[in-house]
Symmetry: C2
């Protein structure tokens, strides 16, 4: 018998023992599930939401000098979606879409004048709206909103009025409540903020507990708050909406992350967010909740390009925050739920408005039948049992549809510079791009596909005919 055969036999024997051990361990671990959440308990949900993060700002999405090992590993162990959108390319309407599963035009959270809520705004998300939190509460979920809200800062609009048991965070953008000395402009103030330039409050529930919010520790404190909440609520289903204030300008990060990244302060900030993601996932594992929790990472809109190196990158996509080219509204989106979400790259269409119906599906909650939902249940795609049902994306700017995606194709009916730049331009025929072949929107193929444009016009007409715009909340 050659040495090779001997080795093979040895190997076979050892592998058999190994297999028996593994089987025993798995069976015994099974006994322990009594200590963890019962199988009939619905899963926990955690949304980790960045602010102004670009499609290209994460290692797994191609950034060359920002290191995001935790997000990369999350993407590998979970699903990396590459055609995932937000409801609008600026903060307030985007968040309204996520939180309600409905286009912001349906709840008044968009306007073609003021694009977001400001500290002097009197409007907010109407009381009549159901949020992810208020729906999950009907199934006994503990709910926490941690971070940026930006759906109304008056008491009747705050998270605590919208289904969240707890709120801790800056209620609107971290560049608000500005007070610049003479001669300092907004852009300059954001890129080199001095004490007193920005004075947003930090709130707990409905109370202001700190003003100005100390922003250099804000990512760390949001993270710690989320982990404390998971620890406290580990025995009941919970929903955490962890909406980071970063990387919106002015950029802040904790001492530990200063000069950590080759990408400068913006890279430091993203690397601290990546640290935060790592902490959240590690805490879930420590609490033995990882196989009972769906974690979603995404952002509210694309990078704010006017800020150069204080803004992010949309990678290969055109445009950024504020606009309806892909860079404004397509975002990194990572779904992680070990044992349930099938690890793969997903090229199907999805949006933040789909999270509400998806969570309700996982939690066996029926959607209220008294209103139109714009979201789709993505759970089959997440489990790998089917594809996404979504085939259409509307690119609203304020109350107007600027562009429409149907399958591979995207038509731009109107284009406009994001902040300055080219003025509003109506295109007839519209510009048409095949986003699967041409994600950077370079080659207009409208002339070759009149049939596609016709089909898209029908979708638009149908959408508009059923649409009743809600009272504008942003001009109040």
């Amino acid at each position: 018998m050659s040495p090779k055969h001997t080795n093979n036999m040895k190997a076979t024997f050892i592998y058999k023992i190994f297999f028996i051990c593994i089987t025993a361990i798995v069976s015994l671990s099974g006994c322990q599930t009594g200590d963890g959440p019962a199988d009939n308990k619905p899963p926990n949900f955690v949304i980790i939401f960045a602010d102004d993060l670009g499609y290209g700002d994460v290692g797994a999405y191609g950034h060359p000098t920002i290191l995001t090992p935790n997000l990369d590993e999350m993407a590998r162990a979970g699903q990396k979606w590459t055609n995932f959108y937000v409801a609008a390319s600026v903060c307030t309407p985007s968040r309204a879409g996520l939180m309600t599963g409905r286009l912001p035009i349906r709840n008044g959270m968009c306007s073609s004048k003021r694009r977001v809520l400001f500290p002097d705004s009197n409007g907010g998300l109407p009381e009549s709206e159901h949020t992810i939190a208020s729906l999950l509460k009907t199934a006994g979920y503990a709910t926490a909103c941690i971070g940026k809200w930006h759906l109304g800062h008056l008491p009747r609009f705050l998270p605590t009025a919208h289904g969240f048991d707890h709120y801790f965070g800056i209620p609107y953008s971290n560049d608000m409540d500005q007070q610049f000395p003479e001669g300092v402009g907004y852009h300059e103030g954001c890129k080199d903020p001095k004490p007193g330039y920005f004075n947003p409050p930090l709130m707990r529930n409905t109370e202001i507990i700190e003003r100005p919010a100390e922003q250099s520790t804000i990512t760390r404190r949001y993270t710690q708050e989320a982990i404390r909440f998971m620890e406290d609520k580990r025995d009941q289903p919970f929903f955490i909406y962890l909406a980071h204030s970063m990387p919106h300008v002015p950029l802040f990060r904790s001492k530990e992350f200063e000069n950590r990244s080759l990408r400068g302060i913006y890279g430091d900030v993203i690397e601290e967010l990546d640290w935060s993601v790592g902490e959240i996932l590690a805490a879930l594992k420590r609490l033995e909740l990882d196989e009972h929790t769906l974690v979603v990472f995404t952002s509210d809109n694309g990078p704010w390009l006017i800020f150069d190196d204080h803004g992010g990158s949309a990678g290969l996509l055109s445009g950024g925050k504020g606009g309806t080219y892909e860079g404004g509204m397509r975002e990194p989106a990572i779904f992680w739920f070990p044992g349930t979400v099938k690890p793969q790259v997903v090229m199907d269409l999805g949006t933040t408005m789909d999270l509400l119906p998806t969570f309700c599906s996982f939690a066996n909650i029926e959607l209220p039948g008294d209103r139109i939902y714009d979201g789709y249940d993505l759970s089959p795609a997440l489990k790998g049992t089917g594809g996404s049902s979504r085939d259409v994306v509307y690119y609203y700017r304020g109350t107007e549809i600027y562009a429409l995606r149907k399958g591979a194709f995207k038509a731009h009916y109107i284009t406009q510079g994001e902040y300055g730049g080219p003025p509003k331009t109506v295109h007839d025929p519209p510009l048409l791009f095949n986003l699967l072949l041409d994600p950077s929107e370079k080659v207009d193929i409208a002339g070759n596909h009149p049939e596609v444009l016709l089909e898209m016009q029908k979708i638009l007409d149908e959408h508009r005919s059923g649409l009743i715009p809600a009272e504008n909340q942003l001009e109040k």
Copy 2:
């Protein structure tokens, strides 16, 4: 005793058995290394080289609709370099740089008129040049060149004249030996090739064995040839230069990959290359050579943007093939050598010219002292014991330096449209970009950094003063 304690004790017991088993398996597997290559055998080297692949065309580098699971896993298990360059933004000089470890200006393989070799060229890589293959042969390596050569197709310039025991491939670009009917232009012919449009030969060693080369099976046949060579030579050290003809236009892929990708034919082609990478790595594992082989994946230059969806994407980088913006010369670069290359994302500078000194270092071969090498030994960075020694990249276009990178900074002294586009423009002062903060080369900061420009001018002056351009091979 509570049930939890009982479970913990059971778990501890089982984990102990598990640990003992693992230890036993590891020890026994150790016995098997006698079957594999001895520890003092130098490692094998495999370069998998794509043609015109863009920085953004691989999943791990951010492409949204091209699926590359094998390259992504190779990047995860190995090193993903994000600041890795080629010696020139077109084929012939780029390959001359890789093969010799020297700038093409030093061996005449660049010209400011004809940018590459053509079927009517009489020049090629001079006999006086040492190649990776000829150096490795001095240490007993078996050497194979499979695929595109493009360093001279006359017998005295072929791979077999430059240190390769075997050659199998199309000796120049797959769009050469053109014969279009009247009314068909080059661009049109490439995007919709009909039989007879392209008639390049397929060679084995110095013989033409097929003409025109059947290109729809070319990726598959190159791959099979490489695997056969590994199988044949598994008992001696080997070097395989697997230089795919794809994704250079005209694009071809095998039946199995037709309409496989959402990214159209270009995506099909890349997904077949990804399949090829998977086959190579799987064969190395099957032959138990994976821990004895350094595999490098990269490309010769950026995407050929004039071909729209038949060309690739440079991702977030500007420009493409033919130019000296980043998109022309920065490439995906993945190093894989299980147990030796430390898995991580590497942001250090590297180039294809560094492969020759790196391989020589791994194989304990001293570099010839009679000539200047432009490459650096990257082995410390690969092993994780140090960083790359490279701090400077020259961006030659033909025989002229158009741009220079020093650390984070890149100065453009001359810019020019890649194929058409803006004419040659001299910049004084040069354009200056910080590539770590601004990889897309958007924000010119020359005005803020006169000291950087001065330092770069010194580097240029020194480089030029020591440089003796070789006789031009491309105009022969």
